[in-house]
């Protein structure tokens, strides 16, 4: 009798876990292991046979200038997106902290880009960036600044992609900080206020440490999503001009789905996974020093 109950109990656990676990294994965990395997082959997708080449794909990758360019571009893009998103997101949250007339509308406006499809808004930005007839250069001209080639030049294309990405994610960071600021206990402010602390000191000694878990979380999230940025790059620049906006992910896409070099492509994917794990591990270790829970 007792055994039957146990079987029923175990059965219901499986019943509740498997509907999510099976797709998770088939479309997440197995593909990652499979990627490791493919990265050791020279498979070209079309032919039924392939050779085992062990580390050749990785060695070829580490000898390829394109790879280092992509690595550098990924770094520039990640840092270039991360820093403004977090700093400006916090600034906006601080300004919005006290509700005022119209603060609901401001919140709505600042957050709205986040829910719009990246493809649609990237098309709009392509039009804004047009060097001859776009409004971006008209604005620069109005400010008496030199016109830029924006996405048409390898000098400025990355900047253009970063602006679109920051534009889209700024409101998201602001909302995160707003709810973190709400949770800062009021008595901490009062305590520091009694000490006659200046507002900058109060911000540095009370607010920043209190919201550090949010900052930590935002750093991780923005980093992971920067590593995976594809839509805006595909629409705005397709990795160009001359590879100036080709990130690791975009290189992976081109190798895999344009050149059908599956071995090389999965090798890039493995590098991306290792990078993510490494960066997260560094963040977690470092966070012990500056995150106060």
């Amino acid at each position: 009798m007792k055994k039957r109950i146990n079987i029923r109990k175990v059965g219901s656990v499986w019943l509740f876990v498997l509907p999510a676990l099976i797709p998770l294994i088939v479309f997440w965990i197995y593909p990652i292991l499979r990627s490791v395997y493919i990265s050791f082959t020279d498979w070209d997708y079309m032919s039924p046979t392939y050779n085992f080449v062990f580390l050749d794909n990785f060695i070829a990758l580490f000898k390829d200038d394109r790879f280092y360019d992509a690595l550098w571009n990924t770094l520039v893009f990640t840092v270039g997106t991360l820093v403004p998103t977090i700093v400006l997101g916090l600034l906006l949250a601080l300004l919005m902290q006290k509700a005022f007339k119209g603060s609901g509308i401001v919140k709505f406006i600042l957050f709205s880009p986040w829910i719009t499809p990246t493809v649609a808004i990237s098309i709009v930005w392509t039009w804004i960036y047009d060097p001859d007839t776009g409004i971006a250069n008209a604005v620069l001209e109005f400010l008496h600044l030199p016109a830029l080639q924006w996405i048409k030049s390898s000098e400025t294309a990355m900047l253009a992609v970063i602006i679109v990405t920051v534009w889209k994610s700024l409101g998201y960071a602001m909302i995160f900080y707003l709810s973190a600021l709400e949770k800062v206990p009021g008595e901490l402010y009062e305590a520091s206020g009694l000490d006659g602390a200046k507002s900058w000191q109060r911000f540095r000694d009370v607010t920043l440490p209190c919201i550090s878990p949010t900052t930590f979380f935002l750093v991780i999230i923005t980093m992971v999503s920067s590593l995976q940025a594809y839509d805006q790059i595909q629409i705005l620049t397709q990795g160009g001009p001359s590879g100036s906006t080709r990130t690791l992910l975009y290189m992976y896409y081109q190798l895999g789905f344009e050149e059908f070099n599956m071995g090389q492509a999965t090798a890039v994917a493995i590098v991306m996974i290792i990078l993510t794990v490494l960066l997260s591990a560094i963040q977690f270790t470092a966070s012990k020093k500056w995150v106060h829970y």
């Binding site: 499809p117 493809v119 649609a120 098309i123 007839t133 534009w167 995160f176 709810s179 839509d231």
Partner: protein, 278 residues
């Protein structure tokens, strides 16, 4: 002192105004460009159209396949979302309310996949769908997207607020886990379900990279891919910017309206405020 706070207040308003203009401008420019003639759109000095060219919208709505793409996306997103909610709620329920071996390992695996770059799985996932004959089918798209790790997190977070005593009481009354999940836990955590539903719907509807790899025929295209096709098609004789902008506006504006009415659920989901309100 009064002057100082006055300056501060003005400064604050100016900064917020600059950011709002910067944020809202692309949307306004999109709509304005959609209402211009082809000649006006090429002339930077013409900020406003002389006459609103509403027929640009008419043209896109009735003479382009854009609405078909919207319908495709709605169909795929609705099905994906439905399955995501069921699978997510069930596994979150198991993790929070059931005791079993390997629970910690299971949760660690789910946590780990949350951080990993999804695109790294695309090549093998593509091969799996190809082997199953599911390329260019909605079935392939839906089953490959039927688990939302974000959703599992959000629901787990909410379920942990439900007192364990309530589950035990329902068990003693003879309710099955399935009944408890949908009749006890779900009503108590309704707000998290709504948040997850909205966030995942938007993510799914806006999704581009994976669907564009899976679907390649015109009939099956989802909205982002279809819009891109519409965008690059005119490329040969110079992009028809007014029509492209009208197309983008038709995709973007309904989402902004939806968002205007559901803002609080998004903000709750992001702010991590997923307690048992509402």
């Amino acid at each position: 002192m009064k002057i100082k706070t006055g300056i501060q207040k003005t400064g604050k308003i100016i900064i917020l105004l600059v950011f709002c203009v910067f944020t809202v401008f692309p949307f306004i420019w999109m709509v304005l460009s959609a209402l211009k003639t082809k000649a006006e759109v090429m002339d930077v000095s013409a900020f406003f159209p002389a006459e609103f060219q509403w027929q640009n919208f008419y043209e896109v709505i009735f003479n382009s396949p854009l609405l078909k793409y919207v319908a495709n996306s709605l169909y795929v997103s609705a099905f994906t979302l439905l399955i995501q909610i069921v699978t997510g709620a069930m596994i979150a329920y198991a993790i929070v309310f059931m005791n079993f071996k390997g629970k910690k390992v299971l949760f660690a695996i789910i946590m780990g996949t949350y951080m990993l770059p999804t695109a790294a799985t695309y090549i093998p996932s593509y091969i799996i769908l190809a082997n199953g004959g599911l390329l260019n089918t909605y079935t392939g798209l839906i089953i490959s997207g039927c688990v939302s790790i974000f959703g599992i997190f959000l629901l787990r977070q909410a379920f942990m607020q439900v007192p364990a005593g309530m589950i035990e009481a329902a068990r003693i009354d003879g309710a099955s886990h399935w009944q408890i999940l949908w009749r006890v836990v779900c009503p108590m955590t309704k707000s998290s379900f709504i948040t997850m539903g909205l966030m995942n719907f938007i993510t799914c509807y806006n999704n581009y990279m994976w669907p564009s790899l899976i679907t390649d025929t015109d009939e099956k295209m989802l909205v982002s891919q279809g819009l891109r096709k519409f965008f690059i098609e005119g490329g040969a004789y110079g992009t028809e910017w007014p029509l492209v902008m009208a197309g983008s506006a038709i995709i973007v504006l309904p989402l902004l309206i939806l968002f205007a009415f559901t803002q609080k659920w998004f903000i709750n989901g992001i702010g991590g405020d997923t307690g048992m309100k509402g």
